[in-house]
């Protein structure tokens, strides 16, 4: 995973509450077998008209928000399905940071697995950022994960983040590799608490003798 330390970029406002992951990547695009290439489908139904023509009314299609890399959003961002295609799409589109008053749990978690920083701010702070973004053409922010701040000349906001998540993102840690270092502890746990799935009645299953 790519590490995240600091990021400066153009801010795009998405002024909708409860944006769900079905809206981020409609399910018909979630049947591919890869992790790449979902940026094209991000916010598909809002972003395009018939024949994949850009919808000029959708905020990300407005010329002034082209190239944005910080997404400003409303409460409960990322609710609904657990599909990781949603953060894959967010990242592939070019966003490295999402700012919102609150996030849905699974989406929030998925962001960290993909090098995206989700920043939680207070309602009033988010309202204020929406105003600034609308009023100032080319409004940019600098996000510093180490210092836990968001800044633009004059403005400085700080945000909270769980220390272990911060550490993992700063380092771009391979979590699986980290956990595999505890293989001995996992094996010991398995020995102390054996868990099995024993089939007492035949069921119609392919591969009836799983590898141990």
């Amino acid at each position: 995973m790519q590490p995240f330390a600091q990021h400066s970029g153009l801010v795009a406002p998405l002024d909708r509450v409860n944006v769900d992951t079905d809206q981020m990547i409609p399910v018909r695009f979630c049947r591919l077998l890869t992790r790449e290439g979902y940026g094209r489908f991000l916010f598909y139904s809002w972003r395009y008209l018939e024949g994949e023509k850009p919808n000029p009314d959708f905020v990300l299609n407005r010329p002034r928000f082209r190239g944005a890399s910080i997404l400003l959003a409303r409460a409960n961002f990322g609710c609904g399905s657990s599909r990781e295609h949603a953060p894959w799409g967010v990242l592939d589109y070019g966003f490295r940071v999402v700012i919102a008053p609150s996030f849905a749990d699974i989406f929030y978690n998925n962001c960290f697995k993909n090098g995206i920083l989700p920043v939680t701010l207070r309602d009033a702070e988010v309202d204020d950022l929406f105003q600034r973004t609308e009023q100032t053409e080319g409004y940019r922010l600098t996000v510093d994960l180490e210092k836990q701040t968001i800044a633009n000349d004059g403005l400085e906001l700080s945000f909270a983040i769980e220390p272990s998540r911060k550490h993992a993102l700063l380092k771009g840690l391979d979590e699986i590799g980290q956990s595999l270092q505890h293989t001995d502890k996992i094996a010991a746990f398995e020995k102390a608490h054996p868990t099995q799935a024993v089939m007492h009645d035949p069921v119609d299953v392919i591969i009836s003798e799983p590898k141990p």
């Binding site: 909708r16 509450v17 409860n18 769900d20 079905d22 809206q23 399910v27 018909r28 979630c30 049947r31 077998l33 890869t34 992790r35 139904s45 409303r74 409460a75 409960n76 609710c79 609904g80 399905s81 657990s82 599909r83 990781e84 953060p87 609150s102 849905a104 749990d105 699974i106 978690n109 998925n110 697995k113 272990s164 979590e175 699986i176 590799g177 956990s179 595999l180 505890h182 293989t183 502890k185 996992i186 746990f189 398995e190 608490h193 868990t195 099995q196 799935a197 024993v198 007492h200 009645d201 035949p202 069921v203 119609d204 299953v205 392919i206 591969i207 009836s208 003798e209 799983p210 590898k211």
Partner: protein, 473 residues
């Protein structure tokens, strides 16, 4: 030891490693996978040269993209076929047991888990699917994960987790006739909101929850995620044990008794503290129908489509305006006056045998309204389908003009060819009424199986309480 909740007991029994300020390494007893969210996890695993640690605890099923008719024919949808082939190959290579689309035990992952007895009290269960919360109905700790976490579990049989907060939802009183588990959970979401459970694990309690059958409890826990909570649970009791006894993966004879004794010890200790509590009275719940584009936009069937101006919070007002625009509804319209195009009875929320029995009791001897373009019944699993056919329910549905299909997710998510066309309106027993969820431009109204069944007969919603039919077993 201080009194502990059900959640805390399962958590500490599965902590492989806990360090201060670090997520805990939690052992996973059952890992369920499906064709939609697993291929990237397997390829990641392969790329890194890693193997599946416990294929014997991993179970795969095809459900999201499967066709619900003509399953004996070759799959014509190339993208779906690629998903099925990938899952089959991944399972063969790693030794994971697979219920493929021809298995007699195939079905929606959250229907077959409990049905096979893979889901048991006290277990940790994960799946790359947010409705994994369903399995908590049996007193398991079960939640949805992303694909990166699927890969993590495949490799380590563990998950890195921060401890959640606990929310106790107590439903008092007795559920009136015509009120189902679905109405209870929709009323809960209406009360606490779609983010009301964020960061929490919900434990449902109280006499109205205890009085629900196992399948009704699954309906409630299923939609915990629609309230923002990753997991929902119900403490196991005699209803749970009776449901589990004799299922293929449940211990037999003396071992079963040993298991029951253990399961009994899981219930939350008296005096255990929760971070938050919410109370509801079942007697006050009326049949619920959603009017908007998230499950919290819900009202009584006797109610009306709200006026956006009645929302004081400007963000909510705007959301209501947008929802009404998408749903093509006028404020003040009575819910029973909304005409429907299609009815869908199915999904991991409401496709089990008790749901189908209740819906069949509503439609027996009646005919689907002529104004309807389609009325679909999609059993949650092939075992449910076979049982329903044994009881003659399929005949009741088809005589009334419903289509009777093979098992899968179907029009809940429109990943196969069961799609709600743009601009059409559907009464659905599923769990999500998001924009485009059942098909691009489709408009979804969530309701219980008996409400959806009655709506199919009348062509619009009706107050099922006036029909004198009971909601569920």
């Amino acid at each position: 030891m201080p009194p502990r909740t059900l959640y805390e007991k399962i958590w500490s029994a599965h902590a492989v490693l806990e360090q201060p300020d670090q997520p805990a390494l939690i052992y996973i007893d059952r890992h369920l996978i499906h064709e939609g969210t697993s291929p990237q996890a397997f390829s990641g695993l392969k790329q890194a040269g890693r193997t599946v640690r416990r294929p014997d605890l991993t179970f795969a099923v095809m459900d999201h993209s499967v066709p619900t008719q003509n399953r004996h024919l070759p799959i014509v949808d190339d993208i779906a076929k690629a998903q099925f082939d990938a899952l089959t190959q991944n399972c063969r290579e790693t030794g994971v047991r697979l219920f493929d689309l021809h298995s007699r035990n195939q079905g929606i992952v959250h229907v077959i888990g409990p049905e096979l007895g893979l889901t048991q009290p006290g277990l940790t269960i994960v799946c790359g699917d947010s409705h994994t919360s369903t399995h908590g109905a049996l007193g398991a700790l079960a939640f949805g994960i992303g694909t990166s976490e699927v890969e993590h579990v495949l490799a380590t049989q563990c998950l890195l987790q921060l401890k959640s907060k606990t929310l106790r939802i107590e439903v008092h009183g007795q559920r009136p006739p015509g009120i189902t588990a679905k109405d209870i959970i929709l009323a809960i979401i209406g009360k606490i909101g779609v983010a009301g459970g964020t960061g929490h694990v919900i434990e449902y309690a109280g006499p109205a929850i205890r009085a629900l059958g196992m399948e009704g409890r699954m309906t409630v826990c299923n939609m915990s995620i629609e309230a923002g909570a990753r997991a929902g649970m119900v403490a196991p009791d005699d209803t749970t044990f009776a449901y589990l006894e004799g299922r293929p993966f449940v211990p037999r004879g003396k071992d079963f008794q040993v298991a029951v004794d253990f399961w009994k010890s899981l219930a939350t200790d008296p005096g255990a503290a929760y971070d938050r509590s919410v109370e509801l009275n079942a007697e006050e719940i009326k049949p619920q129908v959603t009017w908007g584009t998230n499950p919290g936009m819900v009202t009584d069937v006797t109610g009306r489509v709200p006026d956006p101006n009645s929302f004081r919070n400007p963000v909510e007002r705007k959301a209501a305006e947008r929802a009404l625009e998408y749903m093509a509804l006028e404020p003040g319209t009575r819910m029973v006056d909304i005409p429907l195009d299609r009815v869908f009875i199915g999904s991991c929320t409401n496709s089990r045998i008790s749901d189908l029995r209740a819906a069949a009791r509503v439609v027996v001897g009646k005919k689907v309204a002529r104004s309807l373009k389609q009325a679909l019944v999609v059993p949650g699993s092939r075992v449910v389908k076979a049982q329903a056919e044994k009881e003659g329910l399929d005949k009741i549905f088809t005589d009334a003009g419903f289509e009777w299909r093979d098992a899968g997710c179907s029009m809940c998510v429109a990943m196969n060819d069961d799609i709600l066309p743009s601009g059409e309106r559907c009464a659905s027993t599923s769990n999500r009424n998001f924009e485009g969820r059942q098909g691009k431009g489709g408009r979804t109204h969530l309701a219980s199986p008996i409400m959806a069944a009655a709506a199919a007969i009348e062509g619009h919603f009706v107050d099922i309480r006036q029909w004198g039919v009971n909601g569920a077993d």
